[in-house]
Symmetry: C2
Subunit: 414 residues, 2 copies
């Protein structure tokens, strides 16, 4: 969690005592996605099959061209790359963006260590201590960790499952702007909701940031995972060219999570220059991966199309499967590979723990990510879970079947 | 630069105006090491040979085993590694540390994206906004950038070239401790001074952090570059086991700067757990490099010994060569591959710019890093330069000859 609301210092500062860690470190939460993993491992040891619907690690192979490129690299020295990225990588990112009608020059791009670093750099570039960034909750849980590192406050606006987690009326957003609000951060398509904000919704956000002098940061790492309509980029709105910052990553779309290559792109020279300076401090991003991903970035659709088709099938299976479970609240996710599901339980933390720790149906159970971890507001999401559709179709159907039986049994027990 | 001393906001926050970047981004300096690089490139275009004594990028090849290991990797999916590091990498780091009588368990180590990330994580783990960390200046200039990202203040204590940049009496250090001081950060062996703090000096620091309840952070990335006596690690002092944090990197010692693999190690469980949580936010460090460096970490001396021998020769050449230049102040660097040199000039920024922009002797000139960039205190280091001995012997001798002639000519002109 962020540090700002809790100013009190929990430390011992007496002479001669052991020093204590920082308050922000104490308040940084464990990953709600990974917190039940140890229990799941213990369960597997007992012979129970666990369907992992908790985590967004793609289960498809990395395109072989990545490994072929690496094997073909003629390097004798692993030198620092330029802090903004290797020229070949910058050119590849530019060409990649062009595929989506996003026109940025090499000098408007900073290659980063995953989308994570792009987000930290953007937060540091626009916020000082005490400033806040509006996020829509439920949100990607690691935004908390980034805010803790960058020492900025997240200012959450709740969305509603009944709206498919689409944006509320503009007044609701404007009402949350404080004198210290520096920007709005959206994830589009959204992790954890699978929502794609329409051109009209983004247009409203553009209008708000224009009227209130804010930045609009857009995390578009799931860009290709759009099952019904294409995704509008924050850089498609010329009226906020100087206020828009695009945050991106290759991890999900190319199944290269372990490569740690992302990017920040903006037409705002100062923001790019700031990210460049923060980049100079950490010197460079791993050279081999920058080069290895050039073929993917240069002809992206070749690699993303089969992946996206597979996830569309899974999306449809999940949507159909959830329809056969009594009492659940859900919607059709438009993108990414997640959705938040409302369960007929009071406390999804309790349910998910019971599910992985005690329940099994025909030797199988399911691991889900409890909803509250994706919310900053207290008690929000308490009956929700995030479901990642990371399994092949048959397993996905089985997993949903296990979930249905589990909910019946849980209702009888508690 | 750090943000704390300058609280005023330079921004426009009026309705409808363009948003401005953060004060901390504005105050983050450009790299003093790289700032003259563009001029150097222009000069090369004109046919002038430039000897780079400004930058610490090793010029020796990376051990071939790194590339052989990469070519031999049997990977089909580049998945996220565990946030604290791949098990093989953690085991290799543990074995590496053991070589230097540093006993840490795998669970006390976090693999990081270079030493840079280890330093940011350590700063975030021990400091909240308003807290400061004591550094000895001149210091590694990127500490400024890390402090800016982590939003902490650096509290510099000046060292003196006359002392070979060794530590001042304990009273001088203690006097600088404020109610918000959370730790002391040393770089040992030091970039940019080449100083190795003796066991006695570290023991005095251990005593100070013990008495005042502080952390002692030690950046030991140049550990092997010790030409006269071995380096004591901060983890060699059991009396401060809970207060010591070791920050490390493979970059320099193995000539793998572009791999971006470092580590944080500590016996303080809370610090390690904090770094782990920050690590969870950024998910993982590039898997391929974690695996590629295992052979180096497992038998480190095989690879570092020839490198260190070469740098010892260079150190001796530099020490001898500087002795033949009238008016310079210097000392024998004990480690790393840098030293600060006092020049008979008033303004080293002016001299180094003139040197690279206008001067040439027999078609050759020298690029140096001006001293002030390594100091936080105003006007400090104004007659100093950092000299990195990154050239093979003959070039190093020639470069020092060019510097000697340049200083003579500069004295006549200005």
């Amino acid at each position: 969690m962020t540090t700002l609301t809790q100013e009190e210092r929990i430390r011992n500062t007496g002479t001669g005592s052991l020093p204590s860690i920082s308050t922000r470190a104490k308040l940084t939460q464990d990953s709600p996605i990974r917190k039940l993993s140890a229990i799941a491992e213990a369960r597997k040891q007992k012979g129970i099959k666990v369907f992992h619907l908790n985590i967004g690690q793609p289960d498809l192979p990395t395109p072989p061209v990545v490994f072929e490129t690496i094997r073909g690299l003629k390097l004798s020295t692993l030198a620092y790359a330029p802090s903004n990225g290797l020229p070949q990588a910058l050119e590849a990112w530019k060409s990649y963006f062009r595929t989506f009608d996003i026109d940025v020059e090499e000098k408007e791009i900073i290659v980063t260590a995953g989308g994570s670093e792009a987000i930290v750099f953007a937060m540091c570039a626009i916020c000082d201590y005490g400033d806040d960034i509006i996020v829509f909750e439920p949100f990607y849980t690691n935004y908390n960790g980034f805010a803790s590192i960058a020492n900025v406050k997240l200012n959450p606006i709740p969305l509603r499952i009944q709206d498919g987690f689409h944006l509320p009326p503009s007044e609701e957003i404007v009402r949350r702007i404080t004198s210290r609000t520096r920007g709005i951060l959206v994830c589009n398509p959204s992790n954890p909701t699978g929502t794609i904000y329409s051109r009209e919704e983004l247009s409203r956000l553009a209008d708000i940031v224009k009227r209130h002098g804010l930045f609009l940061l857009s995390d578009e790492v799931y860009r290709e995972f759009a099952y019904d309509t294409p995704v509008s980029s924050v850089l498609h709105f010329p009226e906020i060219a100087e206020q828009a910052v695009l945050l991106d990553s290759t991890s999900k779309r190319f199944n290269v999570c372990g490569a740690r290559i992302g990017a920040l792109a903006s037409h705002n020279k100062e923001v790019v220059q700031s990210a460049f300076r923060f980049g100079m401090a950490r010197l460079s991003v791993a050279s081999i991966e920058q080069l290895a991903l050039v073929p993917l970035l240069t002809s992206p659709r070749t690699y993303t199309q089969p992946i996206v088709e597979e996830f569309r099938r899974r999306r449809d299976i999940v949507y159909e499967g959830l329809g056969s479970i009594p009492g659940v609240t859900f919607y059709k996710p438009e993108g990414a590979f997640y959705l938040m599901v409302g369960l007929p339980v009071k406390d999804s933390e309790h349910f998910t723990k019971w599910l992985i720790e005690e329940f099994a149906y025909e030797g199988e159970t399911v691991l889900l990510a409890p909803g509250p971890g994706f919310y900053a507001s207290r008690n929000a999401g308490s009956n929700e879970v995030r479901l990642a559709f990371m399994l092949i179709g048959d397993d996905l159907r089985k997993a949903l079947g296990v979930l249905r039986v589990a909910l019946e049994e849980y209702a009888k027990k508690f």
